[in-house]
Symmetry: C2
C-alpha cells in the first residue's frame, strides 16, 4: 500500500521544484491572408501580403480585420499597444482575436462546434476596451503561429492603430534551440531536428504538457518519449523530477496511478486510469536514473512503480492473460479499429522487464522474484496465444487482426531474440493488410525496434514518411495526429481541435542523438 504520508511527502517534493520559466519576445513577420488551396494538406494556405518591421504599427483605417504570421509556432502571452487615431474614443472598442496553430483555425468558423472536447479549447477571445490608448496583454496563454484580429465594434468618431504587437513567449526549455541542433546531420534531417526541438520546447513549462493549445496537462503515457528527448537535448532534469513526484503524489486510494495530473488551481488528477500508462512508471524511473544518476529519487519512488505492477499483475489470470478487473482504460493508440489485446500483453511485458532492471539496481530481491515469475508466465502465454508461426506475425482478437501495435510492442518487449524480431518486422512491412498507427506513439517504438534490430534504412524511411510527411505539409512543430490519407482525421470529431504541437511527436531529435552518432 502507498501511504497517505508518502503521497504527501512526494507532493511536497514536487511542489518544491519550480522549473525556471524563460521569456523571449517574438514579433509578427508578415501581414497577409488565408486562402482556400487544393495544394495545401488542410485546404488552407497563408499568403503574406507584406513584411513587417519589429514591433509593427498597423492602422485599421481601411479594413476591419488583419491576419498576422509570427513565422513559427510559439506559446505565450499576446500583447500590444492600442492607439487612437482621432480626438477621443466616443464609444468602446470591441476586438476579437483568433489564434491558430495552422491556417485552418484562422479560416474556418469555430461555430457551430460539433467536437467531443470543450469548444473553449479553440483559441478565440473577445475583449472590450473603454479607454484608448492602452497597453493590452491577453490573459490566456495562447499557442499559435497565426493571429486574426477583428474589429467587432468601434465608434464613428475614431479609428485605431496597433503598435508593438508581440508575444511574450514562455518555456522551461532553453529558448535558443539553435544551440542544440545536430550540425552533423544531413541537411534535410536538420530540419526534422529543429522541428523536434521546437515541439519539445513549446511543451515545456511548469511541467511537461502534452499540447500547449489543448489539454495543457501532464500525461503519463508519453512521458518516456518527451523525457527521453529532453535528456539528450535541453536536459532539464528538475522538470522531469518534478513530474515524476507529481504522478506518484496523485496515486489513488486503490493504488492506481492516474493517467494525467493537473497543477492548477491546485495539484489534482483527472478521472482517467490507463493500464498501459500506469505500468510504465518504473520504466520512467529507470530512464531518469540513467540520465540523472539520481539514486535517491528512484529509490524514493520505487514503491509507486512497484505498486502499479502489483495491481496489474492482480489483473493477470492463472494463464497469463490480462483481465480488466479494475475498469482501466486501455489506450495503446487512437486508431479506432485496433484490437488491443496482444499489444497490451506486450506493453506489460516490456515495462515489467524495465521494472526488473530498476529493481536489480535497487536490490529489491523479494519484488524481483515476483516480477521475474510474472514476465515468464505472461511471455509464454502471449507467444502461445498471439503468435502465428505460419505468418511469422502476432495476431490479435477473434478476427486475427495484424496490427503494427502488436508486432512493435512484442518486438520492443523482446519476447524473441533480435533475429526473430527482425523477421517479424520484415513480415509486417511486407504484409498488405495491416492496422497502421495514427499517433506518433507507436511510430516512435517502431523506430526504436528498427534501430535496435539494425534496420536503419527502414527506420529512416518511416521517419521520412511520418515526421517528414508533416514537414512537407508545412509543419514547423510536430502534430498530435497525422494520417497522410485523411487530413481531417481527429479522435475528437473536429480536426481544428487537434493539437499541432504535441510533445509525444518530438522524438526524431532523440533518435538522431541516440542512433546517428
Amino acid at each position: 500500500m502507498i501511504s497517505d504520508e508518502a503521497k504527501k511527502r512526494w507532493l511536497a517534493k514536487a511542489c518544491g521544484i519550480s522549473p525556471k520559466i524563460n521569456h523571449y519576445e517574438m514579433h509578427p513577420l508578415t501581414i497577409g491572408k488565408v486562402n482556400q488551396s487544393s495544394k495545401s494538406f488542410f485546404g488552407w494556405e497563408y499568403i503574406a501580403d507584406s513584411k513587417l518591421e519589429e514591433g509593427p504599427s498597423i492602422a485599421f483605417e481601411k479594413s476591419n480585420e488583419i491576419i498576422l504570421d509570427f513565422g513559427e509556432h510559439i506559446v505565450g502571452y499576446f500583447n500590444f499597444d492600442i492607439e487612437l487615431i482621432g480626438t477621443s474614443a466616443g464609444g468602446p472598442l470591441r476586438l476579437k482575436f483568433i489564434f491558430g496553430e495552422i491556417p485552418s483555425e484562422i479560416a474556418e468558423p469555430f461555430d457551430p462546434y460539433t467536437g467531443s472536447l470543450s469548444r473553449a479549447w479553440l483559441q478565440d477571445e473577445i475583449i472590450t476596451l473603454e479607454h484608448i490608448p492602452q497597453k493590452v496583454t491577453l490573459k490566456r496563454r495562447y499557442a499559435f503561429q497565426y493571429v486574426k484580429i477583428i474589429v467587432e465594434a468601434i465608434s464613428f468618431d475614431y479609428q485605431i492603430k496597433f503598435k508593438n504587437i508581440k508575444c511574450d513567449c514562455v518555456t522551461s526549455a532553453d529558448p535558443h534551440i539553435e544551440k542544440y541542433l545536430l550540425k552533423t546531420l544531413p541537411t534535410d534531417l536538420q530540419i526534422y531536428d529543429e522541428v523536434s526541438l521546437r515541439t519539445l520546447k513549446n511543451t515545456m513549462f511548469e511541467t511537461f504538457e502534452d499540447g500547449p493549445k489543448r489539454d495543457k496537462r501532464l500525461w503519463l503515457g508519453d512521458f518516456a518519449l518527451l523525457a527521453g528527448t529532453n535528456y539528450l537535448t535541453f536536459n532539464n532534469i528538475d522538470l522531469v523530477k518534478k513530474c515524476l513526484y507529481l504522478f506518484a503524489s496523485q496515486i489513488k486510494d486503490d493504488g492506481r496511478m492516474p493517467a494525467c495530473v493537473y497543477t492548477k488551481p491546485a495539484v489534482h488528477t483527472g478521472t482517467e486510469y490507463i493500464v498501459d500508462f500506469a505500468i510504465k512508471f518504473g520504466y520512467f524511473l529507470l530512464e531518469y536514473f540513467e540520465a540523472a544518476n539520481d539514486l535517491e529519487t528512484v529509490n524514493d519512488l520505487w514503491d509507486a512503480a512497484f505498486r502499479q505492477a502489483e495491481i496489474i499483475l492482480d489483473n493477470i489470470d492463472g494463464d497469463g492473460q490480462f483481465i480488466n478487473k479494475n475498469d482501466w482504460w486501455i489506450f495503446v493508440d487512437w486508431c479506432p479499429e485496433l484490437n488491443k489485446d496482444c499489444a497490451l500483453q506486450a506493453i506489460i511485458i516490456f515495462n515489467l522487464k524495465k521494472l526488473i532492471k530498476l529493481g536489480e539496481l535497487l536490490n529489491k530481491d523479494n519484488e524481483l522474484e515476483i516480477l521475474n515469475t510474472a514476465v515468464k508466465k505472461i511471455s509464454a502465454y502471449s507467444i502461445n496465444k498471439y503468435y502465428d508461426k505460419e505468418l511469422g506475425l502476432f495476431i490479435s482478437g477473434s478476427e486475427r487482426q495484424i496490427s503494427w501495435a502488436s508486432q512493435i510492442w512484442m518486438t520492443a518487449a523482446e519476447v524473441f531474440d533480435a533475429n526473430q524480431s527482425k523477421i517479424i518486422l520484415n513480415n509486417l512491412f511486407y504484409t498488405a493488410e495491416t492496422v497502421k498507427p495514427v499517433t506518433p506513439f507507436i511510430y516512435h517504438y517502431t523506430l526504436e525496434v528498427l534501430f535496435k534490430c539494425e534496420m536503419k534504412d527502414k527506420a529512416l524511411e518511416l521517419l521520412q514518411e511520418y515526421w517528414g510527411g508533416m514537414i512537407s505539409k508545412g509543419a514547423n512543430t510536430f502534430w498530435e495526429v497525422y494520417d497522410s490519407s485523411n487530413p481531417k482525421f481527429s479522435p475528437y470529431g473536429n480536426y481544428l481541435i487537434n493539437s499541432y504541437c504535441h510533445s509525444w511527436s518530438s522524438t526524431p531529435a532523440y533518435f538522431f542523438r541516440k542512433y546517428f552518432n
Copy 2:
C-alpha cells in the same frame, strides 16, 4: 484669452480632488425568466421563478443558462466563485454574461446591430476559464438590474456551480439613499424621490457621469440639473468642484469649452462643442457658489465662464440674432423635428442673466456692462422676432413652429414678467399642435418655470405624466429618453443602447426639496 498656464493650474486642481468611492455589496434576489408581454412598455417582462438566498449557490446541472434579478438598478463589478461538480475540468469553461438595465437587453439579441453608437456599449462579455474552482471578477464596470449567464462551452467530464454571486457596487454618493428620502411627501411621490436619488447615486463616481451604462462621461449640458439635485441631497461638493475645474481645464485654444470631458486613460475632451452647453458655465458657478459658499473657486473660474459669453456674443449679429460662425453643435433637445432658433436665443439670454448675477457678486464691472447691453439687445430682438402677440406664444422657423422648448426657455429667461409667462404657459398647454420634448431636460425647465409661476398643479401633473410615467412602466432609475407613445424611440437608432439610468433625469428630488417644503 485663457492662458495655457491657467488651464494647467485648473487641471492640477481638478486632479487634486479625488472623490471617495463608496463600495457596497448587492446580491441577486431571484432567478427567473424574461417573457414577451404585451402589457410591458418595452414588450418584455421579467418573471421570478424563485427567491435566492444571499450569495446564492446555483448549479448548472440541468439548463445551460440562467437569468438573475438584483431587484434594483446597480452599478459595479460583478463577481462570483465558480466551483466544480466532478473530479476535474478536462476542458475549459466558456461563459457569456449579458447585463441589462431593462429586461429587453436580456431578451433581444444585440446582433446584428444597427445603432449609430458603438455596439460595444451593449453589456455582454465572454470569458474562458481554464482552471476551476476560482474566484472571478469581471473587469468592466456594469450597470444593470438583470444578468443572464450562459454556459457557451464546457467539457463532458464536469459540471459547475456558481457561488457567492454578487456585485461590488460603487458610487461617490452615500449609498444609503434611504437616509435622504423626504418622508413628508405623499406616498406616491416618495417613490419618485427614491427613484431620483437612486438615479443620481448611480451616476456619481470619480465625476458625474451622464449614464453608467453608456457614454460614462461628464457632459456639460445637464450639469446644473444633477449638481442642483446633489446640493439638496448627497451634497458632494468636492465632486462638483472637481467637475467644474475639469471643464475649465479643457477649454480649446479658441476659447470654447468642450461639451464633454473624459478622465481615462488621461483627462481629455471629445470633439463636441455645443453652444447651449458652453454658455451655461457661469450659471453652474453661480449655483455652486450658492450651495458651497466658495467664493475663491468661482472667482478663479470666472474667466472661463466669461470667455464662453464673449465667444457666443461674437456670434450675435448686429440685430441680436445668433449666427453659427464657430460651427457649434446646437443641441437643445433630441427631438428631431424641433426648430431650435428661438429656444437657443432664450437659452443665451437665460444664461447671460445668470452670468450677470455672478459678475455682480464678483464686482466685474467692465464685463457686466458688456453683458447687460447684450442681454437687452438679444431680448428685444428675440421678442420682436419670435413672439406672436395674437397667439400669445413664441414661434420658431419659417413654418412658425410652436414648441415647448421655445416657450419654456423664453419664460425661464424671464423676457416677460411672471404674469405674462403664466399666460404663455397656459397658452402652450391649451394648444393642440405643439412640438413636445423627448428628454427630461426641457421637462425639468418646464417644471422650474411652472413652480416659479405658481402653477404647482400643472407642474405636478407633468411630473406625474413624465417621471411617473416611467415609474408606472417599471423604472427604478429614471431613463435618458422617455416617449410614452413610442417605447422604442432612440436618438441612436436602437432602443437597447439608450441609457436607463441617466443623471439628467434625476431632478424630481430637486423639485420636492425646493418647492414642496
